[in-house]
């Protein structure tokens, strides 16, 4: 090999580069460089770059110069970074704790006990996670709003006359509660899978030795799920810290600012560099959290070995307390998940805010034509051009984003599996997972920094639907790649090789073998991206323009300018779309599992 002649080496090289797999690898690598690597580099670069505005404000600085100015300002101005950082951490810690308490308690009840009606609890427990993370912020306001600042009163005040203190309406407390209620399903899912993996013989052994149920829970069950708990805590924390909607709605009016909110206001103040700096900060925090989680997952594996042979689960009997606990848990979930959504729905039929009587009933916000007397002339949803355009935009972005992202995920999965261990495929695998480390709002900032101006032959994409689709593709790539890799693992090995040996060309193999066997993974990839995109706000909020508005950003902007009923109606619509599509996904998964000749 070492003494091969130059011409032989050239000929081998030519051999290599006409292989379909090689071409595919090169194309995929180029796509990832443009979608992920270059935007990320540009974020850092732009944080040091002087803008046109800077060139007027700072003496001796030309547009495009590299300057430290913004980094210095961010560090020395308390309100620019440290205050939002502190607020973000406060909210994230609080949210993670609330989510952990609710999520793990529910998980234990559903997985490890003989609680009556566990299944309905399990069903309700995952609902909040399917909704936009700020879905509960709207009914929260609707319910608790007080009249202190000249606003119309909320449901509670109308009903009982009680005016709750402002700290319960706005600021960290409601933010933590609302986000905790959104993120607990996340903890619930992780902890319930950890609990499923504990051998109940361990618990029985403890009881045989005379431990009470509480002692057993504390000394056997709990230690076994600690890593799972911790991991879910970290992940909930990481997600919370990049979330925009709830903190903006419930913090903004009292000047309580978190990092994502500050990022957006810097961008609006034409201080893009500072927005990028904060985004870098957010990314670093997220990287640290996910790194810690990675370390934990390593140790968690050893816990799941606890099961082994003779694995068996026997539920803990709750006895007489069972029905009471079950009732309590149901009431809790109904009050915190179902009723708020009903209130949201109901309020969208109320002509004037602050009154919940039937006499105030109107279909205006759903079907009405523009009327200057109501909500500044905005027509009802179904006749509102902004809403109609937003709906189409949402659907288009979600469908195209989902399809492109799933195709890329499959192809990357193929390359990774086929070239296992080779440099190229390792590059593809690692890079496609990077967006996982980047909070949505920061991902938006990254794309702002990169695609806002022309790049080579590519025109400036700011304000185009293409940019929105790219955002979705880039951000969701880790998930579709993961699905792609796992479905290719079963197919791209010997099953494909057998077809190759039989004489099938690469396109034929893809068509006859790979596609039929990975199709269901592909379709669920499309659907999952679709559903996540429909409820996504943080990812889009920075790059949105009036032409590219989507349902979520529209809902948010109505809420922001105080068009409550419209935004409530729109949120209801959004939730209905999401629930219907989710039901379709479940149905599809169910059917495709049944028909698969496994």
């Amino acid at each position: 090999m070492n003494r091969r002649s130059v011409s032989t080496r050239v000929r081998w090289g030519l051999h290599e580069i006409v292989q379909p797999r090689f071409v595919l690898n090169v194309v995929l690598a180029a796509v990832l460089v443009v979608l992920i690597v270059m935007p990320a580099v540009s974020l850092v670069y732009r944080s040091f770059t002087a803008s046109l505005v800077d060139s007027f404000r700072i003496p001796g600085v030309q547009r495009g110069d590299l300057i430290l100015h913004h980094w210095q300002r961010v560090i020395v101005t308390r309100s620019a970074f440290f205050v939002p950082l502190f607020n973000s951490l406060l909210v994230a810690v609080g949210t993670a704790l609330v989510a952990m308490v609710i999520g793990s308690a529910l998980a234990w009840l559903v997985v490890r006990t003989d609680l009556p009606f566990r299944r309905s609890l399990a069903l309700m427990a995952v609902v909040p996670y399917m909704l936009p993370s700020w879905a509960l912020a709207l009914p929260w306001l609707e319910f608790f709003k007080n009249t202190s600042a000249g606003r119309p009163p909320g449901f509670l005040q109308v009903l009982t006359g009680i005016e709750v203190p402002t700290w319960l309406v706005f600021g960290p407390v409601p933010i933590i509660i609302v986000m905790g209620l959104h993120y607990f399903p996340f903890v619930y899912l992780i902890v319930s899978s950890a609990l499923t993996n504990i051998d109940s013989q361990l618990e029985e052994a403890s009881e045989l030795l005379g431990a009470t149920r509480w002692q057993t829970l504390r000394s056997v069950t709990f230690p076994a799920i600690v890593p799972g708990l911790f991991a879910s805590l970290l992940l909930a924390f990481a997600r919370t810290i990049g979330t925009y909607g709830t903190p903006a709605l419930l913090g903004g009016p009292v000047g309580f600012t978190v990092l994502p909110v500050q990022i957006r206001s810097f961008l609006r103040m034409n201080l893009a560099a500072r927005a990028y700096i904060l985004s870098i900060g957010l990314i670093l925090i997220s990287v640290v959290l996910l790194y810690l989680n990675q370390r934990l997952v390593g140790t968690r594996k050893s816990f799941s070995l606890i099961g082994g042979k003779g694995f068996k689960t026997r539920p803990v009997t709750l006895g007489k307390a069972g029905p009471w606990i079950s009732a309590g848990a149901h009431v809790f979930l109904i009050v915190s998940v179902i009723l708020p959504l009903l209130l949201l729905f109901w309020s969208s039929f109320m002509e004037r805010a602050g009154s919940y009587n039937l006499s105030n009933f109107t279909l205006h916000y759903w079907f009405g034509a523009g009327d200057q007397a109501i909500s500044a002339g905005e027509p009802g949803l179904f006749r509102n051009p902004r809403v109609i355009r937003g709906t189409f935009n949402s659907l288009r972005i979600a469908i195209f984003g989902g399809a492109i992202c799933a195709v890329l995920g499959m192809l990357i999965g193929y390359s990774v599996v086929k070239g296992r261990g080779k440099t190229f495929s390792q590059f593809l695998e690692k890079v496609s997972f990077l967006p996982m480390l980047i909070p949505s709002i920061a991902f938006g900032a990254i794309y702002m920094s990169f695609f806002a101006r022309p790049i080579g032959p590519l025109p400036a994409l700011y304000g185009t639907m293409a940019l929105m689709v790219l955002l979705v593709v880039g951000k969701q790539l880790p998930f579709t790649t993961r699905t792609g890799i796992s479905s290719m693992f079963q197919v791209a090995g010997e099953l494909e090789e057998a077809a190759e040996i039989s004489g099938a060309s690469w396109p034929r193999r893809f068509l006859n073998i790979i596609w039929p066997l990975t199709r269901s993974g592909f379709i669920s990839g499309v659907l999952i991206v679709f559903i996540t995109t429909m409820r996504e706000l943080s990812l889009f909020i920075l790059v949105i323009t009036s032409r590219t508005e989507v349902l979520t950003t529209l809902t948010f902007s109505y809420a922001e300018i105080g068009q409550q009923q419209l935004s409530n109606a729109l949120m209801t619509l959004l939730i209905m779309i999401i629930l219907i599509v989710t039901a379709m996904i479940k149905l599809y998964e169910h059917l495709s599992r049944r028909h698969r000749p496994a």
């Binding site: 090999m1 091969r4 002649s5 032989t8 000929r11 081998w12 030519l14 051999h15 261990g421 090995g493 010997e494 099953l495 090789e497 057998a498 077809a499 190759e500 040996i501 039989s502 004489g503 099938a504 060309s505 034929r508 006859n512 073998i513 039929p516 066997l517 000749p597 496994a598």
Partner: protein
């Protein structure tokens, strides 16, 4: 395609990172032979097969099927797997789960754009050859392991490759089915006359099926010969000890040229050193004497040149008896004794090592002294 060809493998090497999976292998697999690659796990058998099939690319060397070059590192020739006319039966069967038995088997024919009738007729014929007629409409998940194995064989046979490779095709089956399919394989080989390269680490399988055996270790072919030759005239200690269950007996000794003998077991026993070997060894050299259990002669009385050894286990399995004996220095010897000689009250048997059944190996290289 269709004709029966020999395979020439020349100096083929393949490394994965720092692992040398196949190390400078040269073999000629005669046309129509049933050649088995035999060796312990990880010795590079699968890698060599995949290189032959074109699924893996060797780093170096040359491969010919008949007179056509399918791989040559110097001339940068690498015929793709789909054009080599070589079939491969995977250890995992790799049947396509979304296709019926008929679709699986006829796939290769469809690609060759044959007429509908011919496809049907050839598919049914090959299914008959492997004893799977009547199963055309089943999905692979509705077949037993042995049936899946037959279908995966049919899928490769149907296109009449010039060479058929099989990677441990029977290893996932239970012992009884394995015996049946072994006979089946032999029949298919005789019926088709195809060149078959067969991978296994089961040496009984290799012995019973093959016309040639290539024993591999650490990516190197240790010996390549007909199975009886490999068994009776193992070229080195590795081959000698790999072949046979229970394994061959290895007795270490020292050459004593003056007495024309090899002193064994710390001097309590000795073995005469034949005249033709005396020039090949040096005085005082350590050598290993190998004798297979079935060649040891046991008797209750002392015989000329016999060694008295203590019996410490006597295992009677019905058809044959294995006697475990121990020398004074701890050397263990296993003998298969068809005459069922019983030890006397002193628990001792007299062991004779017939000179024509004993092979001598060098200590450092492990090579046969001959």
């Amino acid at each position: 395609m269709g004709s029966i060809e020999a395979v020439h493998i020349r100096n083929v090497t393949k490394t994965f990172g720092s692992t040398v999976a196949v190390n400078d292998v040269s073999l000629t697999i005669p046309a129509g032979s049933f050649t088995t690659l035999l060796g312990p796990s990880g010795c590079g058998k699968t890698t060599l097969l995949r290189i032959l099939a074109g699924l893996e690319q060797a780093d170096n060397g040359q491969i010919l099927v008949g007179s056509s070059v399918i791989y040559d590192s110097e001339q940068a020739i690498n015929v793709s797997a789909r054009k080599r006319g070589i079939g491969l039966v995977f250890q995992s069967y790799a049947l396509w789960p979304h296709m019926t038995v008929f679709q699986n088997v006829s796939y290769g024919l469809k690609l060759r754009k044959l007429s509908h009738d011919e496809i049907e007729q050839r598919t049914l014929a090959v299914l008959k050859t492997v004893g799977m007629e009547g199963y055309e409409k089943r999905y692979p998940s509705e077949l037993s392991g042995g049936q899946q194995q037959r279908v995966s064989m049919a899928r490769m046979l149907v296109v009449e490759p010039s060479v058929l490779l099989m990677d441990e095709p029977l290893s996932n089956l239970d012992a009884k089915l394995r015996l049946n399919l072994r006979a089946e394989l032999k029949r298919v080989h005789e019926a088709t006359g195809m060149t078959i390269v067969y991978v296994t680490h089961d040496q009984t399988e290799a012995m019973t099926l093959s016309t040639d055996v290539a024993v591999m270790n650490h990516g190197v072919v240790q010996q390549w010969a007909p199975p009886q030759e490999v068994y009776h005239n193992s070229r080195n200690l590795f081959v000698a000890e790999f072949m046979g269950t229970p394994t061959t007996n290895r007795i270490t000794g020292t050459v004593q040229l003056k007495e024309s003998r090899i002193s064994l077991m710390g001097g309590v026993a000795s073995f005469p050193l034949g005249a033709e070997l005396q020039s090949l060894v040096t005085d005082g050299e350590t050598v290993h004497l190998s004798i297979r259990p079935e060649n040891i002669v046991l008797s209750a009385q002392e015989q000329p040149g016999s060694i008295p050894l203590a019996v410490y286990a006597y295992l009677d399995s019905g058809p044959d008896v294995h006697v475990y004996l121990q020398g004074p220095d701890g050397t263990t010897i296993i003998a298969r004794d068809d005459n069922r000689v019983k030890p006397g009250s002193d628990k001792t048997l007299h062991v004779t090592l017939p000179a024509d059944a004993v092979r001598l190996y060098r200590d450092e290289s492990g090579d046969l002294i001959q």
